[in-house]
Symmetry: C2
Amino acid sequence: MESPRPGAQRRRDTEHRLAHDVDLWVASASADGVPHLVPLSFDWDGEALLIATPANSPTGRNLAATRNVRIGLGETRDVSMIEGDVEVLEIDALSQEQGDRFAQRAGFDPRPLTAYRWFRITPRRIQAWREVDELAGRGLMRDGRWLV
Amino acid sequence: MESPRPGAQRRRDTEHRLAHDVDLWVASASADGVPHLVPLSFDWDGEALLIATPANSPTGRNLAATRNVRIGLGETRDVSMIEGDVEVLEIDALSQEQGDRFAQRAGFDPRPLTAYRWFRITPRRIQAWREVDELAGRGLMRDGRWLV
């Protein structure tokens, strides 16, 4: 078993996943406490995550109502958990370059899908751990500021 | 690309994961709509999922308050989503055999941990899909009854 990673390594590993992974797990909740969870594709521009889903899907409705999300990036035993603030954008609101970049990474282009919205997620809190020996020291970002 | 799996195959694949996987993603929500998500180990007894987590963790508090959960089992592109009803049990409430079985499968034994509770989750709704071509036909269980 490897030693627990120092925080700086966990941050690098998280930033690597943000830059290169294709999918993540999006947990949201209705205002009255019904949880939802789906896997979705994403892009990362260095400051925020971008996902696209129908405005009328459970995730779309929850994110618009609460502006709150918790994301699982990675694997169950090598995870980065991200809590963020959600901004909802019309599907034609991004630049051509941003839309192209998402389409290339995600493998689908939501821009022709008028039922879809963009959801731009700015991380507020990030944690990363592999197994129980990494629960200590899992906090990497608080209130939008990296701690490591 | 493989053809979309028929429902009976998706059920078999889901039951295989329930019987053999070790971890899953647990999405819960507070009564006022704050989502939570964590990876946890589990067991399956053929009727219900069993997880263990501290009563005072976000997941423990949410599940006790709402008795509602949405679980992601598998991978982002080969997922079974499970919604279920939650029963909360004291950590000494299971039989020796049930506790041993969980400990062997999960690789940790929560029974000495008095801050922990068991959460027994009876599936109410199950969906399974791999990619977008499997979104149609993803419903496998409704109101606790298999559809396929």
